[in-house]
Every structure is written in C-alpha cells, then in structure tokens.
C-alpha cells in the first residue's frame, strides 16, 4: 500500500510540473521590460559607465584568415579586429586605416599608399608594406586560392593569375602590388577604379605578417591566440560554436577613438531565442523576422535599415515565351510589388523598380545613382494586359506555361505563391508552376539555364554601380539568363576603361536604362533588415558591402 501512495504522489507532482510552466506565467505580462534606459541626453556628463556591448550572431566564424574569408560573419569580425589601407566610416566613405594618405597617378591607375608609422600589430611590431604584398599574393596563390580571390580583379594581373591556361596563371609575383619601402605601398590597377579606395577596407585586402603566418603554419587563425591583430579590437576569446569576445586593442594606432572595452558575442540561431534574450537584457541588439515585426510595431527599440542587396526575377531569354520583350514587360507590370513587400516581407525592404540599389553610391555630382535614374516600370494592369496580348499574338499562341525556379525557404515560397497568383489572375492564358529547390541546387539549375523565371539576389562586392551592372554582359559568368545586347556590352566595357568620372557615370546610367528598355529582369525588392536595439547603444556604423557593422566608434551611454 505504501508503494502505491508513493506513485500517486509522484504522478501528481509530475502532472503538475508539466503544466505549471505553461500556466503560471500568464499573469504578469510586463516583467520582461525592466531594462529600459530612462535617462538620455545629459548622460554624457556622468562618470564613465562600463563600455561593454552584448551581441548575438547567427553563425560560428567560418574563417579568421582574411585572405580566405568568404562570408558576412567572418567579414564582420575581421573588420573589427583587422584593418586595411582604408576603412569605411559611418557614411561609408573611406577613412585612413593603415594608410595615412595616398597619391593617385594622373591616369587613375597607380595608387601610392603612405603607411601610418604608428600602425602596429598586436605584438607591437610595425605593419609594413610587405605585409600587404604578402597577403594579397597569398589570396591569389594556387596553393591557398581564396574563394573570394576574384575581388582582387581591379588590381593589375589579378584575373590573369587565377585564369586556367593563362601564361600568368599562378605567377603571383606579377600582381600589381609593390613595397617601395617599409612604409610605402604602390598598387597598380588594370584600369581606373574610383571605388578602389573603399575596396581596400575589404577583408581580402587586409595585411598579414608573413613571418608570423609562417610560424603558425596550418594553425594560423584557427584560434584567438594564433592570429595577430591590427584593428580596433582583438579577439580575446573564441569558443567555437558558442561565441567570442572582443577586447579593445591597446596597440591600435587610433585607440583614443575606440570607446568600447569589451564586446561579447554569443551564437544564437533561433530568432525567438534572440528575442527572449533581448527581453531579459542579455543582448543589446537582436534581429527580427517578419512574424515579430507586428508584435513590436511602434516599440521604441524597433529599427529598420535598408541594405544594398537587390532581389529580382531573372527572365530567361532563352525561354521561348520570355524571348519576347512585350511578354517580359507585361509580366513586370502585372504584379503588385508594393503589397508583396509590405505584406510578405514587412521588414524594412522596399519594392524595387531598378537594378542598382538606392542610397548606395553617389555619383561625381554627389547625387545618388538611383535619384538620377529614377524608377523603371510600375504596377499597371491595363498596360500589362495590352502588352501581354500583343506579345501572345507575336508568339502565335493563346497560352503559355512558365516555371519559376525558387529557393526553398518559407519566405521565398510565399513570394513565389504570390507572384504565381497575381500573374495567373492578371494575365489571361498564363500558367506558372513553381519549382522550389535547396539553395545550392537552385544555383546549379540557374547556371544551366534550366528555368523560365528565377528568384535571385545580388549583394555588392564594392561600392560602385558596376558591381551590379557588369553582371549582365553577354555571356558574363553571372548573366545566366542569356541576356545579350551589344549596346549594353559596349557601355559597360567603355565605362570600365573611362578615366573621366563624369563620362563613366553617364555610361553606367545609360546602361541601366538599356537593361530596362529590354526588361532583361523584373526587379522585386531592395532588402532591408529589422530588429531591436537598446537605446543606450550608440555610434554603430553600418556598411553596405563586406562587413555589416563597425564597432570602432560605438559606445554605451545612458544604460545606468
């Protein structure tokens, strides 16, 4: 009898405990919000508060070897612990890094960088011109060939060195970079590239100290203590798959402008977990996905920020129906991009009627590329139907069936369904089938041209419209949709050689117009991101390519 009393008790405790958790929290809904900083404005006069920033990231750092890094997490960490010749500031303008200043030859192809004598590695030694020569060559060397080596393209011979069968293949000493002396670096470009200065802030262009790298051999950059730093911070701790910690770098030449002492980053992949950690004050910033945006609508911590990535539909011009420009134009006008973005994305993204993103690059006259070229096309059902009927007549058909090649993420699937419904509702005789594929498989099918529409995206590699525009030259590696217009090709190749910045800019503006006269693609949206950020986090600098964020100028104010 005793035994059964025991089991009764245990059962009860268990049953209770199962539901306790789920039920008892319901009463006090507001407990999470205890960390609101009440005082702002006058906080600056107060004694210094702990300069510690707590953050989340969604991935383990894939690479700390600057010449091998390929992804946004690595780029971001590297950007904060390393420094190139220049670094991007809050306004995404190049500001001196290891280089104090530079001279540019008249034809715009030879840069002479004068290095800052105070620029040091974290072991106290000087950053020299040879450190750049070494790491740039390393990125292109066949033994260490970086997946991002193509970014060095503007530098003389960089493309030839990585081209199979080229006489220069693998001959990294032919690369257009030279150490004139310890603190002078001379870089020769293939052609003038006004964006090159900003590009020197990109990870692949960071210096590496040959002697140190070689002494660590295959252990280089695998742990926090097998790496030399020359940026505003050093990696103090790196627990693989858990997180990492930055500490201010005392050897940094500009350490007086670095305010944060410590940044703690934890790896969290789940958005809901991030939100819960934010609510309990364990992180100062967290990203949000669409379903949380409504929940936090009007919340003072909510931010949205535009990025420079553009998503669009590739219209395969080898497809029988899409060969016809009227059909392509009709399709672009026949679906409502604005509702698509507002309802399905709801994250600060904006509908796109263009290829080169807005707020990305100002031209020689200071005006944003987007402002000058404006929008191409709009949601216009009547016009769409008219063009559609003409197009069908030209094809000699009364119905067409087209396939949309899609990513297999939930968000992309919703976008695909929306697109299909709108087209089938608005264009008589069209039938859209959707093929959702895992990322890699999708890319493979796309490169084979095995699709009609393909949902695609492109983020910039450098701050210049060319990073988007040269994608669509005839037979270009990233064209992948059989688009070809000799006029477009001519404009792009001329612009690449042009030394007059104004003329170059005009050519790129013109090229984008040509692209949309042909309606080569149907743009969808320019991506935005949204999240929560505590009001006491100040001075973050966000970038449009490479690393997302710089913490060099960030500080904490008003937390206490």
């Amino acid at each position: 009898m005793k035994k059964s009393k025991w089991s009764l008790l245990l059962t009860l405790v268990l049953v209770l405990s199962m539901f306790l958790a789920a039920c008892s929290g319901g009463g006090d809904k507001e407990t999470g919000k205890d960390t609101k900083g009440g005082d702002d404005g006058k906080a600056a006069e107060k004694p210094a508060e702990p300069q510690v920033l707590n953050l989340l990231d969604s991935e383990e750092i894939p690479s700390m070897d600057s010449s091998l890094a390929t992804d946004s997490v690595s780029f971001e960490v590297l950007n904060n612990v390393m420094e190139g010749l220049y670094r991007l500031d809050k306004d995404n303008k190049p500001t001196p890094g290891v280089a104090e200043k530079h001279d540019l030859s008249e034809d715009g192809t030879v840069y002479t960088f004068h290095l800052n004598p105070n620029a040091k590695w974290s072991d106290g030694s000087k950053v020299t011109a040879n450190d750049f020569v070494y790491s740039w060559r390393k990125a292109l060397h066949p033994d260490t060939l970086s997946e991002y080596a193509y970014i060095m393209g503007p530098v003389k011979n960089a493309n030839a060195i990585q081209t199979e069968g080229d006489p220069l293949q693998g001959k990294v000493e032919e690369l257009g970079v030279k150490a004139v002396d310890e603190s002078t670096l001379e870089v020769t470009l293939e052609a003038p590239a006004p964006y090159f200065l900003g590009l020197t802030g990109f990870a692949t262009f960071y210096p590496q100290k040959e002697e140190y790298v070689k002494s660590k051999a295959d252990q280089y950059a695998l742990e926090a203590n097998t790496l030399l730093y020359n940026g505003p911070f050093v990696l103090n701790e790196w627990k693989h798959n858990e997180g990492w910690q930055y500490k201010k770098n005392d050897n940094y030449w500009d350490k007086d402008n670095v305010k944060l002492d410590e940044i703690n980053v934890k790896i969290v992949k789940d958005v809901a977990t991030g939100v819960n950690l934010y609510e309990t004050g364990q992180t100062d910033i967290t990203g949000l996905s669409m379903e949380y945006v409504d929940q936090y609508k009007g919340h003072e911590d909510l931010y949205t920020r535009g990025e420079a990535a553009v998503f669009f539909l590739r219209l395969n011009q080898k497809s029988e129906a899409l060969k016809n420009p009227n059909i392509r134009k009709a399709i672009d006008m026949a679906y409502d991009k604005k509702s698509m973005v507002d309802v399905l994305l709801n994250n600060g993204s904006t509908p796109a009627y263009y290829l080169v993103p807005g707020d990305f690059t100002p031209g020689p006259d200071g005006d944003d590329f987007r402002k000058t070229n404006g929008n191409f096309g709009k949601y216009d059902l009547e016009k769409a139907k008219e063009l559609w009927t003409t197009g069908l007549k030209e094809l000699g058909k009364d119905s067409v069936e087209l396939e949309l090649l899609n990513y297999d993420s939930d968000g992309a699937k919703k976008m695909g369904e929306f697109f299909k419904n709108q087209l089938e509702k608005n264009l008589p005789g069209i039938k859209v089938s959707i093929k959702a594929q895992p990322f890699k498989q999708k890319l493979e099918l796309e490169s084979k041209g095995d699709y009609d529409f393909s949902y695609a995206g492109w983020g910039p590699d450098y701050q210049d419209p060319m990073t988007f525009l040269d994608m669509f030259i005839t037979d270009g590696g990233h064209n992948q949709m059989g688009y070809s217009n000799p006029k477009y090709d001519q404009l792009i190749s001329d612009a690449k050689k042009e030394t007059d910045q104004k003329k170059r800019w005009e050519m790129m503006l013109e090229a984008e117009k040509v692209l949309f006269e042909d309606q080569a693609i149907s743009p969808l949206y320019q991506r935005g991101v949204t999240g929560l950020q505590k009001p006491y986090v100040k001075g973050l600098a966000h970038h449009l390519f490479g690393a997302d964020t710089s913490y060099k100028w960030a500080y904490i104010e008003g937390k206490q």
Partner: protein, 309 residues
C-alpha cells in the same frame, strides 16, 4: 556470448562500409559545389578550386581516396570553417548533444516508467487518466513547442532558469526536459499497456496465490517482464532524440552536433555529410547491439542461441 558479440561487431563494420559507399555516391549526385560563395564564382575559378580540393577527379577515384583516409580514421576537413577537421567538429559537438540526449533518456525513462506503472496499477482511475493525458500531450506536441513555451515562461517571465546557452548544470534543465517529454510519453504508454497485460496473466495470479506479497510480485515479475518492450523502444527512441536535439540545440543555443547533420547536406559540405552520417550510423548500430545484449540480461528466454554464458 563473446563470439556472438564479435560476429555482430564484424557485421557492424560491414554495414558501415555499405552505408559509406551508398552515401558517398548519393552525395555526389547532389548538384552544386561546396563553396560558400558559389553564386559569385566564375566557371574558371570554380575549376581552379575544384582542382585544389581534388573534386575534378572521377567519382570512383575520389571514393577510393576517401576510403583510404577513412581507414586511418581521418574524416577530412570541412568546407565551412577554415582548417577544422570533421573529427574535431564531431568530438567538440558530441559532448553537449550526448549530454542532453542522455539526460533526456534517463529522466524520460524514469518518469515514464513511474507514470506507466502508476497508471496500470490504478487502472481506470484519475491517476490512470491523468497519466495518459500527459502521455497523449507528450506524443502529440513536438519537443520544440515545449522548448519554446518553457523558454518563454520559465526563462523570460519567471526568470527561474537561463533562457539559453551552455554554461553549467542549470543550463541543462530546460533543454533536457523539453527533449524528455516525448520519451516520458512513449515509455509511459508502453509500460502501462504491458503492465496491464501482465497483471492479468495466470502466473501473476499464481504468484499471488502462493502468498507472495503484492509489492514483490509487482516488482519482481510484473515490472521486470514489462521492461522488455521498453528496452526495444529505447533504441529507436534514442535515435529519435538525435533529430530532436537538432531543434532543441538551436532553440537553447547549445553548441552541439545536431545542426550539422542537416546543414552539411544543404551546403554540399561533403566531408561533414560523410562524417556525420557515418557517426550517427555507428551510434545507431551500437545502440541496437546494446539493446540486443540487454535483452538477454532482462529475459533469459531471449538469450541468443550459442551463447552459453
């Protein structure tokens, strides 16, 4: 018994070889490259990179090379993280995964047994119904829903336990409990059914009529005999937990191995696909072997022919 185990271990390696072969060739059918920024690589760059990693060789050659390394216990390097071996990824990740997995199995089995026994003994009573309601919920509601609820209410609202991360014993409670819910439910239901059946058998009646106390009968005869199906399901249940840990690790930000199992396939990270598949197959086969051996200990009737010990 020893000979039996030796035979089983041999066939285990044969099975692993077959799994390795099939996985390798299936994996090579996956379109795409293992490179992170595939979309930005041109044809010639891709060729050069493939050359560097030996991916331009014919598949059978790659297969032989792989087996050669595998025989030496070398699973190769991942494409996702610089300079990290698959061996180190598995050995670093398996700790946390195995810990919450084992905790969930232990806790879940214990509670499940208690619930099941209680329900059977108090058949058609409030306890029985209560236990079975718990069981039904436990099976019907996936562990990640529990995890989300627990994290929100216990972690955020009440603040009793950490919301996430992996820093000490208190960090184990929520993930292990979320993961154990399914185990509790399954074990409780099996145990109840089996107990009820055995309670109604003649030999129990016989034992009781011989004057053995009720408690002794229940413990020595009923529970022991009811354990056989429980041991059978523990194998598949442990394997089931591997997929469970995948989601739970994500929710509680635990640095485990689960995630790699799926992620590596999406990324075409060949060495990791092979490494995790072989590792999990090895686990599964070992668990099956252990279960078979346990049978003999619980029930001498099942002891394998030829085993004299």
């Amino acid at each position: 018994m020893l000979r039996y185990i030796a035979k089983r271990v041999f066939s285990m390696f044969l099975t692993l070889l077959i799994i390795a072969t099939i996985t390798f060739f299936l994996m090579k059918l996956l379109p795409g490259s293992p490179f992170n920024n595939q979309e930005k690589l041109t044809e010639s760059q891709r060729f050069a990179l493939n050359e560097k990693y030996g991916l331009n060789d014919p598949v059978p050659v790659q297969y032989i090379n792989y087996l050669g390394k595998l025989a030496q216990g070398d699973l190769g390097y991942t494409f996702q993280y610089d300079g990290r071996t698959v061996n180190s990824m598995i050995s670093n990740g398996i700790g946390p995964s195995a810990t919450i997995g084992a905790e969930a199995i232990l806790f879940g089995t214990l509670i499940g047994l208690i619930l099941g026994i209680a329900a059977a003994l108090k058949h058609n009573s409030v306890i029985d119904y209560g236990a079975m309601v718990v069981a039904v919920f436990g099976i019907a509601i996936p562990s990640f829903v529990f995890a989300g609820l627990l994290q929100y209410y216990v972690g955020v609202k009440l603040g009793w336990l950490p919301v996430a991360f992996w820093n000490g014993p208190e960090y184990h409670i929520l993930p292990a409990f979320s993961l154990s819910v399914g185990v509790i439910a399954t074990v409780a239901r099996f145990m109840r059914t089996e107990m009820l059946e055995i309670l109604g058998t003649d030999y129990i009646l016989m034992a009781r009529s011989k004057g053995i106390s009720k408690n002794a009968v229940i413990l020595k005869h009923c529970v022991r005999n009811s354990m056989i199906p429980i041991i059978t399901i523990l194998g598949p249940l442990s394997i089931g937990l591997i997929t469970g840990t995948l989601v739970i690790e994500n929710i509680f930000a635990i640095p485990g191995l689960g995630e790699q199992f799926v992620k590596s396939i999406n990324l075409n990270d060949y060495p990791v696909i092979m490494g995790t598949t072989l590792f999990y197959s090895f686990l599964l086969i070992t668990i099956i072997l252990v279960v078979d051996i346990l049978y003999g200990i619980i029930d001498p009737r099942i002891r394998v022919a030829g085993g004299k010990s």
